[in-house]
């Protein structure tokens, strides 16, 4: 095959490629035809374009032929291409044709996967559908719609004329080419018929119009779905639209502050603060006192009312003063008697004495209450305190409230108490502290204990037992202050009917309780409840401390027992014996000899005991319940007794061991009872409390307080020794038989 032919084939291929790019959709048919037309024109075209240089083999055309309008088709050619290139072969020594005739070199060949838009599958599919309809009257369309692209077809056409096996084209085209050969032959027959004629253009136009109409047909109705980006509407969910949202909080509040610091500012600040602190401390101190003074707001109010009105206060003082003066005037005679009267008739009575009634003092508000205890003030000999309450064994009447009073009386003003303090229930006992005369310990009917400071304007207790934890379970019968502890803490003992002896220590703000002893009786209980036998506990009624040995004390119980105990041992009694048949009301140590003590009881007897002995030295039967008995502080052998039938009885062991030296009725009326007795520690005066809240002061006649005078000749005996001697002399007769019995009448003759 000459290379020229090969070249033309290539040219045509490229031409058709460029033309196919310009083609409109579904205009494949004309393009192919144009290519086929172009083939014969090709050589001619190159000549026509260069008219000035006319090769010799150019066709000689007439003017008419030249003028004839021929539709021109643009083609890409390479005009200066050499048709017969030779190269000199040195081996042969001659020219040989240049074999490598290709005017271009294939540098890279890429197979495209892109499909041109017009050839996209949708179009093809549509076309396929329509082809089925049109297949009868348009065979060419059918041909074009087979999967061949135009290039391939051109190639096949070229290959028809040429030899096969060109490596430039893919094999598959070649394979397909065989399938399409028959069709190609048919095709080629048609264009060949038209190719040489001048009617080429009109035919092309016809064809074009035909294809156009068919294209219109195809374009109109159908729309295929987009396969790459297609979603069923029903499968679509609602789209969540994201939005930006901002919230601003209110800014934190701000303040301005400015200051400046220097050394003197710091110094001043400290000084100011320090002085403030000092003031507060002082205030606190005052407050503390005030709190002690008035814990309850009600009392505070009252106090404020009093303190606020200065004039009222002054008036009160004046009124008090006036009352004193009037009392002194009206009671002048009694006051004189109190001080100076000595019964002159005593001289003629032997050893008997009398009692001179001085004042009868009554607190009107509480005239139905018992005088439950009397205590002389250690500081003022003319002042004493009494407690008023319901007596033990007498429950408060249901219609009257259970009240009690603590009253301070002065002999200077017998018409009205100096100090009145109403308590929440019956006050049962009290005691003045020996060194701090303003401290008053009070025991109550319901088991409470309180300590009052009578020097303060307030009526509130300084210390009060706790209703839940500390208080006694039953009525408190006696309280006794004892010596302060080595570190100065005040403490006192109390005895209650719940059978316990307690020690109370006054702390800063409260009393601490220590149970010293529980009075256990060694009696088998007669009644056992449900098989449980309770230990019997003695109901304590009175307590007396040894005057010299403060650790030893005696306790009397309601059952008539006397216990001798020591504060050191709580589970052990030094002595325990049945002293009386009935309740022991008082135990009192002799003021001169601590080994001798007396006890009085409801069984109408007063017994004098010696220490460590279970047998009384003396028994005095008074035929009536004895409510109180005390040794006289003036004489070692004299003691006073009060009975419930309103008699005050005095005995002097030195004078007569069997007969009293004085028996004096205090109140003639029978509903009265005498409850308590107290000797003044300085003046020969006793006070007697009754069940009608009256207090009677009585003066002892000289015979009741006879003191042993040292003999004119002889040694210098002190009164103390003489009194002791007198007592022992009196008691010697009653002691155990081994001691010498001294006849009693000897004593009387002595005096």
């Amino acid at each position: 095959m000459p290379p020229k032919l090969d070249q033309t084939a290539k040219k045509a291929t490229r031409l058709s490629l460029s033309q196919s790019g310009q083609k409109k959709p579904f205009n494949k048919e004309p393009s192919r035809r144009q290519v086929k037309i172009a083939k014969p024109v090709d050589d001619v075209n190159g000549v026509q374009s260069n008219e000035s240089i006319r090769p010799d083999d150019q066709l000689k055309l007439t003017e008419e032929e030249l003028d004839e309008a021929i539709s021109n088709v643009l083609q890409v050619t390479e005009p200066p291409e050499l048709t017969a290139r030779v190269s000199y072969s040195y081996r042969d020594g001659s020219f040989v044709p240049y074999k490598n005739v290709l005017p271009f070199i294939t540098l890279i060949e890429l197979k495209s996967t892109l499909i041109h838009r017009q050839f996209a599958e949708n179009d093809i599919e549509i076309a396929l559908e329509e082809v089925k309809e049109e297949i009868d009257h348009n065979k060419e369309d059918l041909v074009s719609d087979t999967d061949e692209n135009v290039d391939g077809r051109v190639q096949e056409e070229v290959e028809e004329g040429e030899s096969e096996g060109e490596g430039d084209f893919p094999n598959e085209e070649g394979d397909q080419g065989e399938g399409g050969e028959e069709v190609d032959e048919e095709k080629t027959s048609k264009p060949k018929a038209t190719s040489d004629s001048d009617e080429e253009a009109p035919v092309a136009i016809q064809e074009e119009s035909a294809t156009n109409s068919s294209a219109k047909k195809r374009n109109a109705p159908k729309k295929l779905m987009n396969q790459f980006n297609f979603f069923e509407r029903c499968a679509l969910t609602e789209e969540i639209i994201l939005r930006e949202k901002e919230v601003q909080t209110t800014p934190p509040t701000k303040n301005d502050f400015c200051t400046y610091v220097t050394q003197w500012i710091i110094y001043d600040a400290y000084n100011e603060d320090f002085s403030k602190q000092q003031e507060e401390k002082e205030k606190e101190k005052k407050d503390k006192i005030a709190v002690h003074a008035s814990k309850k707001s009600v009392n505070k109010k009252k106090q404020n009312d009093v303190t606020e009105d200065q004039t009222e206060k002054n008036m009160l003082i004046t009124a008090k003063f006036l009352e004193r003066i009037i009392n002194l005037n009206t009671m002048d005679a009694i006051a004189q008697d109190f001080r100076y009267y000595e019964d002159p008739s005593d001289q003629f009575r032997g050893r008997d004495g009398t009692l001179l009634p001085l004042w009868t003092m009554t607190y009107d508000k509480a005239d139905n209450l018992y005088v439950t205890d009397i205590s002389w003030s250690p500081d003022y000999f003319d002042m004493f305190a009494v407690t008023l309450g319901t007596s033990q064994g007498h429950l408060p009447l249901t219609d009257s409230p259970d009240v009690g009073y603590v009253c301070l009386w002065s002999l200077k003003n017998p018409s009205y108490p100096e100090y009145i303090n109403q308590t929440h229930c019956g006050a049962m006992c009290l005691d003045f502290h020996r060194n701090h005369g303003f401290l008053l310990a009070v025991g109550f009917h319901d088991g409470h204990l309180a300590v009052y400071n009578v020097s303060l304007p307030t009526k509130e207790a300084q210390y009060m037992t706790d209703a839940v934890n500390t208080k006694h379970m039953a009525c408190v019968r006696q309280v006794v202050w004892v010596k302060d502890l080595p570190d100065g803490e005040l403490n006192f003992y109390s005895i209650s009917e719940d059978g316990t002896v307690c020690n109370w220590l006054l702390m800063q703000s409260e009393m601490s309780k220590t149970i010293i002893v529980t009075l256990v009786l060694d009696i088998e209980p007669q009644i056992t409840l449900g098989g449980i036998s309770e230990t019997l506990i003695g109901r304590g009624t009175t307590i007396a401390f040894h005057p010299e040995n403060s650790g030893i004390y005696l306790v009397g119980t309601n059952e008539g027992y006397i216990f001798k105990c020591n504060t050191e041992w709580s589970s052990f009694f030094m002595q325990k014996f049945k002293a009386h048949e009935m309740s022991v009301y008082r135990i009192d140590y002799n003021k001169y000899d601590p080994n001798i003590y007396l006890s009085c009881s409801g069984d109408c007897t007063v017994k004098v005991w010696e220490d460590k002995s279970d047998i009384p030295l003396l028994i005095f039967d008074l035929m009536w319940s004895v409510s109180d008995a005390l040794w006289s502080p003036f004489s070692s052998t004299v003691f006073g007794v009060i009975t419930e039938d309103c008699d005050v009885v005095f005995y002097d062991l030195d004078a007569d061991k069997y007969k009293n030296i004085c028996r004096q009725p205090i109140q003639p009326e029978s509903q009265y009872q005498l409850t308590k007795l107290a000797f003044n520690w300085r003046m020969p005066v006793i006070i007697v409390g009754s069940s009608k809240s009256t207090i009677v002061a009585l003066k002892m006649s000289p015979n009741l307080r006879l003191i042993m005078k040292p003999p004119k000749k002889g040694k210098h005996y002190t009164t103390q020794m003489l009194e002791l001697e007198k007592l022992h002399k009196a008691l010697d007769s009653t002691r155990e038989p081994d001691t010498l019995v001294v006849p009693a009448d000897d004593d009387t003759t002595d005096s």
Binding site: P252, T253, K254, F257, T259, Y260, V261, Q263, A269, D273
Partner: protein, 104 residues
């Protein structure tokens, strides 16, 4: 003689107070107690190194109550600040120290 006595008395009166004295504070009681504690600790620890003390105060307060605290420790200074309410502590300590801590 009397003058001497007076002078002596005056001398005796000059007591150096070293306890912490809070001058201005609008914190809650709990916070106040803690802050005072922090300041005392720092000032006692570092003695005359006020820088270190202030740093410690700041750091500890930051740790305790969240960041951006400020602290001033010194013998003489003047400040004008804007602070978040309830976070101001202005106190004296040791008799010669002014301390101010606040939060921005």
């Amino acid at each position: 003689m009397e003058e001497f006595a007076d002078a002596k008395e005056d001398e005796n009166k000059k007591i150096v107070h070293t306890y912490p004295l809070v001058q201005a504070c609008d914190m809650s009681e709990e916070m106040k107690a803690e802050t005072v504690e922090v300041i005392i600790t720092a000032c006692e620890k570092y003695g005359t190194d006020y820088f270190a003390a202030a740093k410690t105060v700041k750091q500890m307060l930051d740790k305790k109550f969240g960041p951006q605290w400020n602290a001033v420790v010194g013998e003489a200074f003047g400040i004008q600040i804007t602070y978040q309410t309830n976070t101001l502590m202005y106190m004296f300590f040791g008799g010669n120290l002014g301390i101010c801590a606040w939060k921005i």
